[in-house]
Amino acid sequence: MTTVKPTPPSSPLPPIIKRRKRNPFDWSTAGIGLVMTTAAAIVFFRDGRDRFLEILYHDLRLFGDVLLKVAAGCLIGAFLARLLPRELVAKWIGAESGFVGLLIATLLGAVLPGGPVTIYPIASAFLVVGADVGATIAFITSWTLLGYTRALVWEIPFFGLDFVIWRTLISIPLPIIAGLSARLLARTIGKNWGDT
């Protein structure tokens, strides 16, 4: 086989996406699985088979709903890691980005779509391309606490609009506080943890 092998002319992306190899099934998953199995067994023997199946069907449907979102989150993370220009990330939310970087990260977390299942791959991608650890944490915190999709999909049906708006307004400073304390912690004790 032959043909073109056009080394991308304007692609200064070094191989930044090397990830650690992991065991497909680690102990934490096994532990959670054990707890889940125990809970399921308790429901089965205490509440009977019908209740057990009812919960199982409900959760399987939820699993189906979540699947597509997880897939989207993984793809977004993988593409973002390759596309985000390092210089831009470093400038916006890098180590030298200061307080403004935390604000940008907070804003980013609040507006990017997705639920809790999509955050972590994207946050890892940020870090890989050179984002500051405090800004990354502000981003995650903002997404978990202020993300509008989460509120829209899950929270408002349970609590109503007033409560959710109130809770969100009170929570606005939290990502910045988290980012600042993460920077402080990273400076004082984080060095001992060595590599990321």
């Binding site: 692609s11 959760d59 650890v133 409560f163 912690l185």
Partner: protein, 165 residues
């Protein structure tokens, strides 16, 4: 309905990123697609365990007791209990909200419930082990956890000071 809008927005973003990658080069596009797919497949069993299991965990938790210790007069102790219960509530998308809503209906205070939701959102133990440790660099995970520890207390204090509108 809103569920589909979110879904559509997510996939629009995927499409836009994939397009941008494809414009930059076929290899970039293919690598991104492959890695995204591999990540997804690797996460699949964890998601299955987490989502299917959380319903069973919610079913064996005693809601009446949760509500009793989170009342409006429970003060800081109630907030502390709320934070701890939030941390140990399974991290599925519905569980924490449904318990929080149930607690409010059975007389829990708003600051306590906010502390509960915030703690659950920030450091649910199950999500910590299932999602964060496998997916993110270890240093980031621990730093985030440490930095997040005071947040539910801060937000509960703010809720107590400001009061409900």
């Amino acid at each position: 309905m809103t569920l589909y809008i979110v879904e559509a927005m997510l996939w629009l973003l995927v499409a836009a990123l994939a397009l941008a990658a494809a414009v930059r080069g076929r290899i970039l596009f293919r690598d991104g697609l492959r890695e995204g797919t591999m990540d997804f497949l690797r996460l699949l069993p964890k998601v299955l365990i987490g989502v299917v299991g959380s319903g069973f965990i919610a079913a064996i938790m005693p809601p009446d007791i949760t509500a009793r210790y989170l009342g409006p007069d429970s003060g800081f102790l109630g907030v502390l209990i709320a934070v701890i219960s939030g941390a140990f509530t399974p991290g599925g998308p519905v569980v924490g909200f449904s318990i929080g809503a149930a607690a409010i209906k059975s007389g829990a205070g708003a600051p306590q419930v906010i502390a509960y939701i915030t703690a659950w959102a920030l450091y649910a133990v199950q999500r910590f082990f299932l999602w964060e440790l496998p997916v993110m660099p270890r240093r980031l995970v621990w730093l985030r956890l440490l930095a997040s520890l005071p947040l539910p207390f801060l937000v509960a204090a703010a809720a107590m000071l400001l009061g409900r509108p």
